[in-house]
């Protein structure tokens, strides 16, 4: 299975599959049903960050320098956490300005400067080409290992000649692929949906391949992680391999690599492409900000086990970079190594595809187009469509970039390990960070500052990383690395100014960033910005201001016809028609074009040519200028002021509404209280007047009726006495109620037995009930019921309940039943009668003061005489019970079908 034809068939078959996916993605996009409109696909496409370097190199780095490989992924994790602040702003800027690449972004920020764009493109080309070479090298190397195992791969490579070299052909195939899917259309479409879909698929493939080999190594070659690590611990050679001591540069190197990875993640051209340019929806960032780090964790999970296993087992004379392949090969497998190869191929091609598209866009938009536009001859001959030209330039750029990568790989690549090349490229890309990040937040950064800072940082990178690398490959005399340039010790590239003991990347990063940021800030403080630069700076730094989104910034003049012909010259007739579709084209072509249309045209051109070139072209047909800084600032100020006003107004009105509501509620409560007070007074006086009236009436009878019979007189006197008693009881109750409500009711709580208290109370009312003919049934189900209470008051409550029940029991056969039971931690005393009961909605109201239930006689529906009782008994009873920590309520009588009043008191503590 490991023969060349099989491996090549699988490899090219896999590339063909990518073609199919990309074609399908593009087809779907054209139909408007985008496959990449999902945050998960977006997160997977960001995983193009994990290249062949991750796939093979992480294990190599783990074997050589312990956990430091993780820093390459912790940096991006931190960067993704900041996505809602930083990357979101980049995406917003890129979409409003139609940014096509990181070079375009930086160029646009500093006044659409074509020279700055060209500088960034050049640095990217020089810095990133080795990285592409690295991918090609990984493909070739892994192929050689796969086919030649157990012979060493390096030997075989040396024998091969130019056209037998697989990476040459891989580079060519990739070039065809990239040309097909990276440069298909030009109309303002800086996006490549099919390509992104293919990249997301590739990310899945490499993850699955790596996890498969990891599971195989840990669980098949060893008996799980415990077995593996106990063997590692037993091997004295490996004991220190996982600690910080193994990290180059120790703690400094640790921080340096973390910062480097953080910056490079944002500034590598391919990362900028997938993160910012290919982003279809800002909201996808939210999901990606944790899903992508999770992907990184997953793909790194087995790196350390594989590295340790590779060092434990004698897997031939292979280098650690190919442990992922040699481990399953050493176990005699065929399938898993092939899967690993495909995974590595996936990782490598994904990176090469996106990186090449990003670089070719930069080369054509920032380097070639500005030159062509400047050349007079081309201007004259540009009556035909330039769209074809543009595509041609980009295609040639793609082929050239890949060939450059191949050349680098063929000539110099062998002397470097995978990780070394990767980190050198990281350090080059990191040079873009100051111009990018500072430019996004500080309006004062100027074009000159950014350019000089970039140049200084780049030169230091060349001197401290690139040239020593060349020296190691034998291209340069290695003497200057050891002794310093011209023998000056403080100019040693790895120990600049005598800074020794650092790892070479942190060392280079420190000096280059110091120079880059220092010069950017320093020069910016002492230079002035051109008007366009000021405008762009304001637009970038205020990108999150919602007022700017739909503001048209042109006020020059041109005709519709001129604009239309400009667009169709560069983008083709079809694309032009599409772009201007929403502008009413029925009007005369000699009419002046509205500002929105000019802005639209510039955006479309920017998407295809980059902002600097688009600017030049629009300027060639539009007479007048874009809005100056003053206007932009005033737009910004007014919008932000309006927003602030709105916010404050909203806050105020919310507060007012809340206060209004509270006032209304308070007012209603007051009215209610007033009404209750009136009612209370009326009722009290009514209640008092009734007995008083009868006393007075009988007293008058007694006074006037001198000749009343003795027995009548006695009867009347008895009535007077009874009514007086009733009166004083009423007054007593009113006083009780007042005390209860004011909280001055004095109870003397003590432990008592509710059973004996109940019996006592029953005895007290027994006679009275018997007189009325009430049948009283007493069920006491507990032997004793210790509760805390005031015996007099409780007795008053029980008597009141019994009394009430007696009054409301059935007239013909009055029955009352008292039941005392235990209920969980409480004692329940319920008194029920066989009267008409209390309706559901009345049950709470019986506890209101003076609420008297109208007794309905069972036969007729009319109220039967005066309601009995004062209506104060139940409220007072409830007050007392509540005071003692219990409850009093009404429910349906379980046995007698009338009303049932239940009193519940907590059990006294032991």
């Amino acid at each position: 299975m490991r023969t060349d034809p099989v491996v090549l068939t699988v490899a090219f078959g896999y590339l063909a599959l990518l073609f199919v996916i990309a074609a399908w993605g593009d087809r779907r996009a054209e139909k408007g049903r985008s496959v990449i409109g999902s945050p998960t696909v977006y997160a997977l496409s960001i995983a193009v960050y994990c290249t062949a370097w991750t796939f093979y190199g992480s294990v190599g780095r783990a074997a050589e320098s312990g956990p430091s490989f993780l820093l390459i992924y912790l940096g991006p994790t931190l960067a993704m956490l900041m996505a809602p602040f930083m990357i979101r702003k980049m995406v917003r800027i890129a979409s409003t300005q139609r940014i096509t690449s990181i070079a375009d972004f930086i160029s646009a920020r500093y006044g659409k400067s074509s020279s700055l764009g060209a500088l960034v493109a050049l640095i990217a080309l020089i810095g990133i080409t080795p990285y592409i070479a690295l991918q090609l090298k990984a493909i070739t190397l892994s192929h050689a290992v796969l086919v030649n195992y157990p012979e060493a791969a390096e030997f075989q490579l040396a024998d091969e000649s130019f056209w037998v070299d697989k990476s040459f052909w891989v580079a060519l195939v990739l070039a065809v692929f990239i040309i097909l899917f990276g440069t298909r259309h030009l109309d303002a479409s800086e996006r490549h949906e099919g390509m992104v879909a293919a990249i997301a698929f590739e990310s899945l493939v490499k993850l699955v391949a790596f996890l498969t080999v990891g599971v195989f190594v840990v669980f098949v070659m060893f008996n799980g992680p415990m077995d593996l690590f106990s063997q590692v611990a037993d091997s004295p050679r490996l004991v220190g391999a996982l600690g910080l001591d193994a990290v180059p540069g120790g703690a400094t190197g640790w921080v340096g690599t973390l910062v480097l990875a953080f910056l490079a993640f944002l500034t590598l051209p391919r990362q900028f492409q997938v993160l910012v340019v290919e982003n279809v929806d800002e909201r996808h960032l939210r999901r990606a900000s944790w899903l992508f780090p999770l992907y990184l964790v997953a793909i790194n999970l087995f790196v350390i086990p594989i590295a340790m296993a590779g060092m434990l087992l004698p897997v031939g004379n292979s280098d650690p970079d190919s442990f992922v392949l040699t481990l399953p090969l050493s176990a005699g497998l065929e399938g898993i190594p092939l899967l690993v190869f495909i995974g590595g191929l996936s990782a490598a091609t994904g990176m090469v595809i996106v990186e090449t598209i990003a670089l070719s866009t930069m080369v054509s938009n920032q380097l070639v187009m500005p030159l062509l536009l400047r050349s007079k001859r081309l201007q004259l001959s540009s009556q035909g469509e330039l769209a074809g030209w543009l595509l041609g330039i980009r295609r040639v750029a793609i082929v050239l970039i890949l060939l450059l990568g191949y050349l680098y790989h063929a000539l110099i690549g062998d002397s470097y390990s995978l990780v070394t090349i990767g980190l050198v490229s990281f350090a080059a890309a990191a040079q873009f960070a100051p111009a990018l990040l500072i430019g996004m937040y500080w309006r004062g950064a100027t074009r000159l500052g950014a350019s000089l800072g970039l140049i200084a940082g780049f030169l230091i990178w060349v001197y401290t990383l690139l040239l020593p690398g060349f020296a190691q490959s034998g291209w340069l005399n290695p003497g200057f690395v050891e002794q310093g340039l011209w023998g000056l010790g403080w100019l040693r590239p790895y120990a600049l100014f005598g800074l020794e003991g650092w790892d070479i990347y942190s060392h280079s990063l420190l000096w280059s960033m110091l120079a880059n940021v220092g010069i950017l800030v320093g020069v910016s403080l002492f230079t002035r910005q051109s008007p366009l630069e000021q405008t762009q700076a304001a637009l970038f730094t205020n990108a999150m201001n919602p007022g700017l989104q739909h503001t048209s910034l042109w006020r020059g003049q041109t005709t519709r016809g001129e604009l239309q012909s400009l667009l169709s010259r560069y983008l083709g007739a079809n694309a032009t028609a599409r772009i201007l579709a929403d502008q009413k084209s029925s009007r005369d072509n000699s009419d002046p074009a509205p500002p929105a249309m000019i802005a639209r045209a510039e955006q479309a051109l920017s998407g295809a040519l980059g902002s600097a070139s688009a600017r030049v072209l629009i300027n060639s047909v539009v007479r007048g200028e874009a809005l100056d800084l003053e206007s932009i600032l005033s737009i910004l100020d007014t919008t932000s002021q309006t927003l602030e006003y709105n916010r404050r107004l909203e806050q105020k009105s919310n507060e007012l509404a809340k206060i209004g509501e509270e006032l209304r509620a308070a007012n209603e409560r007051l009215r209610e209280l007033d009404r209750l007070k009136d009612e209370f007074v009326a009722m009290v006086s009514h209640e008092l007047r009734t007995p008083l009236t009868s006393i007075r009436a009988f007293a008058e009878i007694l006074r006037d009726g001198k000749d009343l019979p003795e027995d009548k007189r006695t009867h009347f006197l008895e009535v007077v006495v009874l009514e007086s008693q009733r009166l004083s009881r009423l007054i007593e109750e009113i006083l009780d109620l007042a005390r209860l409500e004011s909280g001055r009711l004095t109870l003397t709580p003590q432990q008592l037995d509710l059973v004996s208290l109940t019996r006592h109370s029953v005895d007290a009312v027994h006679r009275l009930q018997e007189d009325r003919g009430v049948t009283l049934q007493v069920d006491i189900e507990v032997d004793e019921a210790p509760v805390i209470g005031d015996p007099d008051r409780l007795e008053q409550v029980i008597i009141n309940l019994l009394d009430n029940a007696g009054k409301f029991a059935d007239d013909d056969d009055p029955q009352v039943r008292l039941l005392l039971t235990r209920h969980e931690q409480h004692y329940r005393l319920s008194v029920e009668d066989n009267g008409p009961g209390i309706a559901e909605e009345e049950r709470e109201r019986v506890f209101e003061k003076f609420h008297q239930i109208k007794r309905l006689s069972s036969s007729a529906g009319k109220a039967k005489g005066r309601p009995r009782g004062s209506g104060l008994g139940l409220p007072i009873s409830r007050g007392i019970v509540v005071h003692l920590g219990g409850r009093l309520w009404v429910e349906d009588a379980p046995q007698l079908q009338g009303a049932c009043l239940v009193m519940e008191l907590p059990q006294a503590p032991e």
């Binding site: 994790t77 956490l81 900041m82 921080v255 999901r287 900000s289």
Partner: protein
């Protein structure tokens, strides 16, 4: 609470999380965990993976559940 204030709150939490992550991934704390266990291997990789997962989990919670907090 209105949208912008809720967003500001999420952002404040996120900033706190970023500060924590930087702290936990940086030398003083990394050095503390760079100690050999009983058998002689460093705890460092395990520590890094655990912190890493915790940070991602918290970030996921912040990003996905911001509508629900008040």
């Amino acid at each position: 609470m209105n949208e912008s204030r809720r967003e500001a709150r999420t952002h404040a939490r996120l900033i706190a999380l970023i500060c924590l992550a930087v702290l936990f991934f940086s030398p003083p704390l990394v050095l503390i965990f760079d100690r050999p266990a009983a058998q002689g291997l460093s705890w460092l990789p395990l520590y890094l993976f655990v912190i890493w997962l915790i940070v991602i989990g918290l970030a996921a919670w912040l990003m996905e559940h911001r509508q629900e907090d008040s």
